[in-house]
């Protein structure tokens, strides 16, 4: 299992990172475990969404971090679909 930092370093070079950013965003928008997303983090996601920066490295780091906390299984499934982690 790769660490979030290792996943990030792979993500940075990936052309499909905007698709992954959208996938991570949808996980955060639909999880029932939304208490792991503080209002501050939520506000930051809104700012990044509005400015079109969700696929930047910092934004991906935030999305990935929160998404792993909220829905680790779904997140790993998404990452494995893009070859970022081995299939489970």
């Amino acid at each position: 299992m790769l660490s979030p930092d290792e996943i990030m370093s792979k993500l940075k070079t990936l052309e499909s990172r905007s698709i992954i950013a959208e996938g991570l965003l949808d996980i955060l928008l639909t999880t029932y475990n939304h208490s792991v997303i503080s209002p501050g983090d939520g506000g930051e996601i809104v700012r990044l969404f509005i400015s079109g920066e969700l696929d930047t490295p910092d934004a991906l780091h935030l999305l990935l971090d929160l998404s792993l906390k909220a829905e680790s299984e779904k997140t790993l499934k998404l990452l494995s679909e893009h070859g970022l982690v081995p299939e489970t």
Binding site: L25, L29, T30, I37, G42, V46, F49
Partner: protein
């Protein structure tokens, strides 16, 4: 023909802001925020949403006069119009009888109560003194149309007599022409102009490439509609009283996961537009031909609301062509 969205503020405010900003770039007319005491406060949510929306209208409600004094409804709408000038609408209805009961409130004389609220809100928004000598010391920005939410024939008639528009309950989705004719008759009888009045229907919607998943997602929303049906309508639609009782108990306990097991597909079919994009488009096209001025797409929208909004935008554009 206008297509609007209705979002229940069950989600954290940041999520509502994402949906609001996305909606701002799509072809919807108004974003309505439904009001439930157990969800986020709609005035707070609407203000936050308006801060990320530049073009769309925002609809407050449906609010009911059992929970909100009309002066508070007018105050809320007028205050919001300072954030979204000329882009605010307000919806007033009798509320859900069972939800009110759980707060210890009896829904007495709903038609008279809503009539009084609509008239007073109109007076107050117009800068005049309302019932009891009440007034606001400020005025809203732009016109704030008042919609009446209606299900039964008497409330539909009231909407035609006194509202600027009507939001017909989604329970009429199986036959939109009937409530439409009641409202049009009331407009004609009171000498009001049809072209200055907006007849819109709320429709629970759920779209996903997997039809079954779309239908499953809408079930808790269908349950809320079913438990609020009048006895006459439940009889007319031949809904099993035992199923009604079971649904009512589960909604009251807010046991949403259990509800999936008791809401039959037949009720999903009656009270919602759920399925894949092709199925939703066909049904929406059918509803759109009924002579309505607008449809408010509400409910879950889909298992993934952000993606569903984008798919629905495409559907709405095709249906409008």
């Amino acid at each position: 023909m206008r297509y609007s969205l209705e979002l229940p503020p069950k989600d954290p405010i940041w999520r509502l802001q994402i949906y609001a900003h996305l909606a701002d770039s799509l072809s919807f007319d108004t974003i309505w925020l439904s009001d439930h005491y157990y969800n986020r406060n709609i005035a707070v949510a609407a203000t936050a949403m308006c801060s990320v929306m530049k073009t769309k209208r925002i609809g407050l409600g449906i609010m009911n006069p059992y929970l909100y004094h009309p002066v508070l409804m007018a105050q809320m709408a007028a205050s919001l119009s300072e954030v979204a000038p000329d882009r605010v609408s307000i919806g007033i209805g009798a509320g859900d009888r069972n939800a009110l009961e759980s707060l210890g409130i009896v829904q007495e004389s709903p038609v008279a109560k809503v009539r009084g609220a609509v008239e007073m809100v109109r007076e107050l928004l117009g800068g005049r003194v309302g019932g009891g000598g009440l007034s606001l010391d400020f005025k809203g920005w732009g016109r704030i149309p008042i919609y009446v939410a209606a299900q039964g024939p008497r409330m539909l008639r009231l909407a035609g007599e006194t509202g600027d528009g009507v939001l017909i309950n989604t329970s009429w989705l199986f036959n939109p022409k009937r409530p439409l004719s009641i409202v049009e008759k009331a407009l004609a009888e009171t000498g009001r102009r049809r072209d200055l009045f907006s007849i819109e229907m709320e429709a629970l919607v759920s779209v996903h490439e997997d039809s079954e998943k779309a239908r499953k997602t809408v079930k808790p929303y269908v349950a809320v509609v079913v438990q609020g049906l009048s006895a006459e309508m439940a009889d007319e639609l031949d809904i099993n009283p035992n199923v009604m009782r079971e649904i009512r108990a589960l909604v009251r306990a807010r046991m949403w996961l259990e509800i999936h097991k008791v809401v039959p597909d037949s009720l999903v079919e009656l009270f919602s537009i759920a399925g894949n994009a092709r199925e939703v488009e066909a049904r929406l096209e059918e509803v759109s031909k009924a002579g309505l001025d607008g449809v408010v797409l509400g409910g879950p929208l889909g298992p993934t609301p952000r993606r569903a909004m984008i798919v629905l935008d495409g559907i709405v554009k095709r249906v409008s062509e």
